[in-house]
């Protein structure tokens, strides 16, 4: 009896395992074959949607359509822009007698970018990705996973030249930039006044940096002077985590992390200079607090906003948090803060800033690819005022040329003085594994600033880890 029971239970177990195995097979399929299946279905669906609805869309329209938008981040004006464009389209459809009414349903999240990226990929695997979603800088990851639609045909001349470079993979555009935030250096003008600079000197500094007359070395010395003369407690601070800001500093010091073909590069000389610069700031001149990377964003934003720290390098939209932390309204903040280009250094050709746009992509799973594309086109045309509003709210220039001419941007006390920077903006291509390298670099920056490693050792450690973890890195 016991034997019989055992055998039958074994059979049940085997059956359940087999069923799980089947599930696993399906799951595995979802990863590979299944993924392809989803793509194929989506492809079929999309094609069907295009032809079917294209015909009926031309005659009768789509009827009532609900499009979902997946958003992650604080700047919800991006979603407002999509909603505004949909409303604008609805009005046009109504005027033309086309039976299409778009409703946008947005899902707002504020989670880690990597987590959101993974959620989108998983949702895509099960065919449930939102129709439109915010796309992080790992556009290539989304493309490889088959999540995003090629929208090359959507991008028009109305966009700022070169702005789609970061979301272009193999010559195809997979996301639309919604803004043109610049990564720059900003400093507190009040701190300069405190150390005896005249208003004329303060006002002329941005131009001196723009002309290349005032170099990065001069600026670093200025940071030190401000600290020594009691203008601020710290001269220069940065983000407390891995980020592309450090790549900008690498560029300012004549280094690079990608080549002309957009391949990831390990520039040993450049990285050595970067590490030496940050080490000196924290350990020698002490213009950077050595435990900066243990501080939270709020502490750093407050230090910058109150002038306790003189200068900061990072994206301009971060200044919205700085202003908040210091309890300043935009106009008051604009009066005290100056945004400037990364100055020319002894190793670089000239001053620059970096474009760091935020993008929205269209899901490869959407049943309404044409409508989603129409929304993006509308944002470049009649609904560009929504992008102007988004840009003004986030201290960014706009990705659309016409929006940059709108009053909301031209009258902005923060943005109007920096419009010239668009001419100096570097548009960075999508570089595979750039996030891995920046993570490795940041690990060493933390140790260097704490004085727990040497520059030579840090460079060697990054080099070893980069060779081990990044397959396609070119060592220079």
């Amino acid at each position: 009896m016991k034997k019989l029971l055992s055998v039958s239970l074994c059979a049940v177990m085997a059956a359940s395992l087999a069923a799980c195995g089947g599930g696993a097979g399906t799951g595995g399929g979802a990863g590979t074959g299944g993924g392809a299946g989803v793509n194929a279905d989506a492809g079929t669906g999309v094609e069907g949607g295009n032809s079917g609805t294209g015909e009926s869309g031309g005659q009768d329209g789509y009827g009532d359509v609900t499009l979902t938008v997946g958003f992650n981040g604080d700047f919800t004006t991006m979603v407002d822009a999509v909603i505004g464009a949909a409303d604008s389209l609805n009005e046009k459809y109504a005027a033309e007698g086309i039976d299409t009414r778009i409703t946008i349903e947005a899902d707002y999240q504020t989670i880690d970018n990597t987590e959101f990226h993974n959620n989108i990929v998983f949702a895509h695997k099960s065919g449930e990705a939102p129709d439109i979603f915010i796309c992080d800088t790992d556009v290539a990851g989304f493309v490889n996973a088959g999540c995003v639609l090629d929208i090359t045909d959507v991008i028009t001349d109305s966009m700022v030249e070169g702005i789609c470079t970061p979301c272009t993979v193999d010559g195809k555009v997979y996301a639309m930039p919604f803004d043109l935030p610049l990564r720059v250096i900003y400093y507190n003008k009040n701190d300069l006044a405190k150390i005896g600079w005249s208003q004329e000197q303060i006002d002329s500094l941005p131009e001196q940096i723009q002309s290349g007359e005032f170099t990065l070395e001069d600026f670093t010395a200025l940071c030190q002077e401000v600290v020594e003369k009691g203008g601020a407690t710290y001269g220069m601070v940065h983000r407390p985590g891995a980020g592309n800001d450090f790549y900008d500093l690498l560029n300012a010091l004549g280094g690079r992390y990608y080549n002309e073909e957009g391949q990831l590069v390990f520039d040993e000389a450049g990285i050595t200079r970067l590490f030496q610069y940050l080490y000196d700031n924290a350990q020698t001149t002490k213009i950077t607090p050595e435990n900066l990377n243990q501080m939270g964003w709020d502490t750093i934003n407050q230090m910058v906003g109150t002038g306790e720290a003189f200068a900061y390098f990072g994206p301009m939209f971060s200044a919205t948090y700085v202003a908040q932390a210091a309890g300043l309204e935009t106009d008051a903040f604009a009066q005290q803060e100056q945004f400037v280009l990364f100055p020319k250094s002894a190793y670089s050709d000239g001053p620059f800033c970096t474009a760091a746009p935020q993008f929205m992509s269209i899901s490869a799973d959407t049943q309404y690819p044409e409508l989603c594309k129409e929304i993006f086109k509308e944002l470049q045309g009649d609904a560009s005022s929504y992008l102007a509003h988004h840009s003004a709210e986030t201290y960014s220039l706009s990705s659309v040329k016409a929006a940059n001419e709108m009053e909301e941007i031209t009258s902005s006390t923060i943005l109007s003085p920096v419009t010239y920077m668009a001419d100096y903006a570097q548009h960075i291509p999508a570089v595979d594994d750039a996030t891995t390298l920046r993570g490795l670099i940041f690990e060493q920056i933390t140790s260097l600033e704490l004085g727990q490693t040497t520059v030579e050792q840090a460079v060697q450690d990054v080099k070893t880890q980069a060779q081990l973890n990044i397959d396609k890195i070119i060592m220079e």
Binding site: M1, K2, L5, S6, L9, V12, M13, S16, L17, C20, G21, G23, A24, G27, G28, G31, T32, G35, T114, H117, N118, V121, F122, K125, D138, G141, F142, N144, A145, E290, N291, Q294, T435, T436, G439, E443, T446, S447, L450, Q452, T453, D461, T464, Q465, L468, N469
Partner: protein
């Protein structure tokens, strides 16, 4: 009749076994498969054979991480067991008043029942590197130093060990306390009649009587410490300079920070192997006690 009783156990076990199969065995098999791929943020499965395991061997940080893990687990276990025993003996053998004993037992449970995030934030707040940090205020007051210390940067391993030990104390101490209570009172009386001192009673009666409990807790805590990295992640995140990067945290970082899921799975597989060996040991200890 006995056969029927044994047989009835199987239907009761079956649903559990099915759930275990679905939620543990299948994911474990998938993890093995994943460890042989270069799975990244695209979630496309591409086999790379044993490249991830090769990377583990070639990575110069592997030795450092193994050493950190051994130091972390070793120190935490030694401290936990010793403190568990001290607390258990104090609150059970020396403090006879049940309500006072219960009060102290409740006290040591507090870190265990506090959510890890709250608990870790408390540590970070206490050890704040600025002059506003609580520990720094004490330090500067006592030493008359004008410069605050960056405690977490200077003593990262000591701090994560202390934080972890405090959260582990409750379980072991309560377990040992129950074990001490189950020792027949006659043994203590006989020892006292024979003129044994308190230390002789502790070392000659209490410790031998609860030795299997000690072995069990030691192995159980080892398993927990090997696989749990939350406190470390929240306080130091493995830093600075890899000084507190332990094996489980390294798997997390590779998989979820660097999005090298295949590599992270391979690191996890090594950990699973070690944990399985320890589980077999635990099983052996339990069997010996039951025999």
């Amino acid at each position: 009749m006995k056969k029927m009783q044994n047989g009835q156990a199987y239907p009761f076990l079956t649903p559990f076994m099915i759930l275990v199969s679905i939620f543990y065995i299948v994911p474990a098999i998938l993890t093995i498969a994943m460890s042989l791929t270069g799975l990244d943020s695209s979630f496309v499965w591409e086999w790379n054979n044993f490249n991830n395991y090769r990377k583990i061997l070639l990575d110069p940080n592997t030795g450092k991480i193994v050493l950190n893990t051994v130091v972390f687990v070793g120190c935490a276990i030694a401290l936990t067991i010793v403190l568990d025993l001290v607390i258990a003996v104090l609150v059970t053998y020396f403090i006879k008043n049940e309500s006072i004993s219960s009060f102290f037992k409740s006290l040591i449970m507090i870190p265990m029942i506090t959510p890890a995030v709250v608990y870790s934030v408390l540590w970070i707040w206490l050890l704040d590197a600025s002059e506003n940090g609580v520990v720094n205020q004490l330090y500067m007051g006592v030493t008359n130093s004008a410069i605050p210390l960056n405690w977490i940067a200077k003593y990262p391993m000591q701090i994560v060990v202390m934080a972890t030990v405090l959260t582990s104390l409750g379980f072991g101490a309560i377990n040992f306390s129950s074990a001490i209570k189950s020792i027949p009172e006659d043994q203590f009386k006989a020892a006292r009649i024979d003129g044994a001192g308190e230390w002789e009673i502790v070392s000659g009666i209490i410790l031998p009587n609860i030795r299997y409990h000690i072995q069990f807790i030691a192995l159980w805590e080892t398993l927990g410490l090997l696989t749990n990295y939350v406190t470390i992640m929240l306080i130091t995140d493995g830093g600075p300079s890899m000084q507190t990067e332990v094996w489980a945290l390294s798997a997390y970082h590779k998989a979820f920070t660097n999005q090298q899921y295949g590599y992270g799975a391979a690191i996890s597989m090594v950990l699973i192997f070690v944990v399985m060996v320890l589980m077999l040991l635990l099983n052996k200890v339990t069997s010996r006690r039951d025999a």
